[in-house]
Symmetry: C2
Subunit: 339 residues, 2 copies
DNA sequence: TTGTAAGCGTTATCAA
DNA sequence: TTGATAACGCTTACAA
């Protein structure tokens, strides 16, 4: 900037005024400055700019899980889009389900003086985020699930409603032995399980706790193994509600391998779900909208909206494609076809 | 930092020394400083830090296409991982195949004084990047394809070899009428087409230019329409080589819809490829490795490695799953089954 | 071992 | 309309 000023024969302040289009600068002077800018190829240093007191850095932090998971990818895509549009750069950090990594990542981001944070929180205590919020004045928005021990705006989907819808759909197609696969202590799957119980209760079907499978990890492999165990058990379910996309894949792999015609409804849509041998019925929500809402909420906060914390719940909908409409069928493993 | 210094009864320099662990500080003083740091909850301001001359910002820019595309998602994941490990934050920008957006995004990133850039370049002239590289001293690494008009390190996969392998595989399974779907003027698909021609030439099969389909856009829908046209034509191909993941999906949709038993090999692997009614044969490479290599190259450059620009070519491999092993079959549309 | 002074690129304030 | 000066938080050079 000093170079530009020198070249144009003016003071740096004047250059600043021209660059930012504020203050009063004579037409002629401005032109000289612009000429100098173009000649030198000057570009304003955003870093120095945000060093000034009271200035926000025009950067937000986005902290989420493995981008390989399409759920996180769409979320990120939408959040980045909205943030960029509003003039914010996005620093992306991935905390692979590790609370310690998450904590360190937040520290890094705060050190970089981000103006706000969008976080998909892990399980575990997040009280340290309250400090961040209060002490460093950095607003936070949680996405997909709230954080335990920390208060902030949060955007989630209607997990309980979706869980109920999935279960009800299976009941409506004649099932009464419906298994549910739940990933360990996740907020979302817990809510989906709650919906499952509610739907069964409403239909007068007692919950068989043997059909409520709490997995040790939320992986495809674990889901596959659990499904295998369920379907080859003495008294197998005729339908399975799998509460995440990864789990659904595992369920499908196992049932395909066993050639067991079990009904399946999954939570979260996925690519090619409609092209599998039996197209897959899912409950789904608008993941990109989740990211967009979060980004908008955060930007509002950064701009000083002082409203009390808001909780946004996005609707879900069921897409019937095939696996969810299969009726109850006798399981060849344990029950002869004649039964 | 000043607050910490005051609280500890020392000068700011001393605090700086403690925080950075350089210089000489008496044990006792350091302890007092650390106590003050903890009491206040001080965190070093990375922005002010990088304002010093000669300092790099410890931030790199990552500019790529739609994260919804799993290819970009894995690339980003791996690059972020490596960069973070090396202490760099990653600012993510998505330039949805729009050269003008891309140009503006690069400007934004330069303005934020990133220490380097990883770019998946669009088509179109990138001469402006040479200026960035020279004038702003910001090293650049291109991934997946080089940029026209700009020199820099580049990491690509063996597109030509992969194209040849895919084609040869189909030839080996008895095909001689092999169509190829190519997205418009992309570097990668152009190379894959080159491999296709090479393999056919090697096998003594003349290239029927009617089977070389240059799509207007690289979308699933366009690929689907083109496949439909091919398979219902007077003299249809018995096999199709689709040169991107999106295109492969379109090809599969069309052939499934037509119930036309055409052999298919796709470039780029995708989830559930092995679970479709006929599992899909693909040529694939390690996308995460692509991202990792790029990040490593960039960090080396930032650290001042002065070697001439390097071009890294990652190997590809063919995964035979089913669609690529189908033999040539008469097409019901144009040829009676008896033929 | 510790401290003083200067400067990085920008903008707010006040003066000319 | 324009400019001089100070300040943001930090680090480097040099001095005590």
């Amino acid at each position: 900037m000093r170079d530009v000023a020198e070249r144009a024969g003016v003071a740096v302040v004047t250059v600043s005024r021209v660059v930012n289009g504020i203050g009063t600068v004579r037409e002629e002077t401005a032109e000289r400055v612009n000429a100098a800018i173009n000649a030198i190829g000057y570009q304003r240093n955003e870093i120095a700019r945000s060093l000034r007191p009271g200035q926000t850095s025009m950067t937000v932090g986005l902290l989420l899980g493995d981008l390989t998971n399409p759920f996180y990818a769409s979320l990120a895509k939408a959040a980045v889009e909205v943030a960029n549009q509003a003039g914010y750069a996005v620093v992306l950090s991935t905390a692979d389900e590790d609370p310690e990594v998450e904590r360190r990542a937040v520290g890094e981001l705060i050190g970089r003086r981000v103006a706000g944070l969008i976080i998909v929180p892990d399980q575990g205590d997040h009280a340290f985020l309250d400090e961040v919020n209060a002490h460093d004045q950095v607003p936070i928005v949680f996405v997909d699930r709230p954080a335990t021990g920390a208060e902030a705006d949060v955007v989630v989907v209607d997990n309980e409603g979706g869980g109920a819808a999935a279960t009800q759909h299976l009941v409506d197609h004649g099932h009464s032995r419906i298994a549910i696969l739940v990933a360990p202590s996740y907020y979302t799957t817990g809510r989906r399980l709650r919906g499952y119980r509610k739907a069964l209760r409403r239909s007068g079907i007692p919950v068989d706790e043997d059909l409520v499978v709490a997995l040790r990890r939320g992986t495809t492999d674990d889901a596959s193994a659990a499904t295998h165990a369920l379907l080859t058990s003495a008294h197998p379910p005729t339908a399975i509600f799998s509460t995440t996309g990864f789990l659904t894949e595992g369920v499908l792999r196992a049932s395909q391998q066993l050639r067991a015609p079990v009904a399946v409804v999954g939570f979260d849509d996925f690519k090619l779900a409609d092209m599998l041998p039996t197209p897959v019925t899912v409950v789904t929500s608008d993941t990109e909208e989740l990211g967009r809402r979060a980004a908008h909420l955060l930007i509002d906060r950064i701009n000083g909206e002082g409203a009390p914390y808001r909780r946004t719940v996005l609707p879900v909908r069921l897409i019937a494609r095939g696996t969810g409409e299969l009726g109850p069928q006798p399981q060849p493993q344990s029950q002869p076809p004649s039964q």
